[in-house]
Amino acid sequence: MSKRAVDMTFQALYTLTDLRAVLRETAPSHELDAEQRAQAQRLLDNLERQVVSLKQEMLK
């Protein structure tokens, strides 16, 4: 196990937190405008990368 695994865990949690903020800002319909959609896309891409790194670190 490595510091990198810990960092990735926190980073993924923080990315999810930013996604949570998008859900709050757009409640109750959660209809995203173009800017929010782009932000969500960025965050989800980051999350995918973070989960891949986490898998590599924790399951190696």
Binding site: F10, Y14, T17, D18, R20, L23, R24, A27, P28, S29
Partner: protein, 393 residues
């Protein structure tokens, strides 16, 4: 979804527009949520506590710097964090009020101010608000004279709420303080609904103490708050311990009895700190919040019979309305009785109205986006229309 045995994960603010009057300003910023994740463990801020072993001296995380920043932001001299505004009231009352002392409150004061006075042995005397639910300097002067006649001396302390919890009215604290100061009465500014919501300048107001609520208005976890004081008062409220044990002869350094030593030792403090840069920024844009609130107020007042019980136009986003002659007339025959309004709102994705309330109720739009404010306005209009209420053109 559960986050522990028998504990449902709370998703109110993700699923609804939440207009609960006391929750709006305490919603966490994303940075505060992240701080909560990292600092959730009990004494988490104490990893790097070094001599002189007091919370406000810790530099990693930058707690010492935060204390200084908050003092400068409020234009006061010294700050301590406290577990809620009420603990700030308690510390000040315990310092200045003794058994039988008269203390000035108002007819709109929060109950915790009364309890702080009671615990110190003081006697509450209220400045009556006028017919517009405003506390005036004239009424303050009259009450002080009344107290002097009754007790043979002026009150030893005054608690003044800048925005009261009942109507959300913005009172002229500066003018009231000026009157109190003519009688050498120290003034505690209750900023539970202002510190973290709109700009506050303690010195400009002339007050001795500024109390703010982290969980009500500073986007922080509960219980949290701040007590800011002038240099003159700091040595009194934040006096250090002098006690010693007779067997061990132990003494306790620079711990402060009114703070019971250290105060916010973990997630509450770091959450408040993480939100602070955003809070400093948001108070500069309170006009946007008022504009959003006006959208909702305009909609509510367009429903015939609805009255605004708070001062109008609004100067704060928490408002008390009377819908006895509008929404409550529907409750008389609706199958859900008075619960139809909160139920209808919930179906539209709006929460925070007390279930069953259709007569007099409060709401707060602080933190809504413009789109959400429009949605909220439309929701009220739609419910009124669907239930046959008349709308003004």
């Amino acid at each position: 979804m559960r986050c522990g045995a028998g504990i449902e994960a709370r998703q109110v603010d993700e699923l609804f527009i939440n207009i609960d009057p006391i929750q709006a300003g305490g919603r966490l910023t994303p940075d505060a949520m992240k701080a909560v994740i990292a600092y959730g463990d009990g004494y988490s801020v104490c990893d790097n506590c070094r001599k002189p072993n007091r919370l406000d001296y810790i530099s990693k995380p930058p707690i010492a710097e935060f204390h200084k920043d908050v003092a400068a932001w409020l234009n006061m001299d010294t700050v301590r964090t406290v577990p809620g505004a009420r603990r700030g009231f308690q510390a000040v009352a315990h310092t200045y009020v003794h058994k039988g002392d008269p203390v000035l409150l108002t007819s709109l004061s929060h109950y915790t101010e009364f309890l702080a006075v009671e615990e110190a042995g003081g006697i509450a005397r209220e400045i009556p608000a006028d017919s517009n639910h405003m506390v005036t300097p004239e009424a303050t002067a009259a009450k002080i004279e009344e107290v002097k006649r009754e007790f043979g001396r002026p009150p030893v302390l005054a608690f003044i709420d800048h925005v009261d919890y009942q109507y959300g009215n913005l009172h002229d604290v500066k003018a009231v303080t000026k009157v109190a100061k003519e009688h050498d009465i120290p003034v505690l500014y209750n900023g539970a609904y202002t510190v973290g919501i709109l700009p506050v300048d303690g010195k400009a107001l002339g007050v001795d103490f500024v109390v703010g609520s982290g969980h009500k208005s500073m986007a922080a976890p509960a219980p949290s708050g701040i007590l800011a004081v002038t240099a003159e008062r700091a040595a009194e409220v934040f006096r250090t311990t002098a006690i010693a044990g007779d067997v061990t002869n132990r003494k306790f350094g620079i711990k402060e009895p009114e703070m019971m030593g250290c105060t916010l030792m973990g997630v509450t403090l770091v959450g408040m700190m993480a939100s602070f840069p955003h809070v400093k920024e948001r108070v500069r844009h309170f006009d946007r919040e008022l504009n959003n609130h006006a959208l909702v107020m305009d909609a509510l007042l367009s429903i015939e019979g609805t009255q605004c019980l708070s001062e109008y136009p609004r100067k704060h986003t928490m408002t008390r309305v009377d819908t006895t002659a509008s929404f409550d007339t529907v409750a008389e025959f609706h199958k859900q009785r008075g619960f139809y309004l909160s139920s209808s709102l919930e179906k539209k994705g709006v929460s925070g109205l007390i279930p069953g309330a259709t007569k007099v109720w409060k709401f707060n739009t602080y933190g809504t986006t413009k789109k959400q404010a429009h949605y909220l306005a439309d929701a009220f209009i739609s419910i009124a229309y669907d239930n046959g209420l008349r709308l003004k053109k």
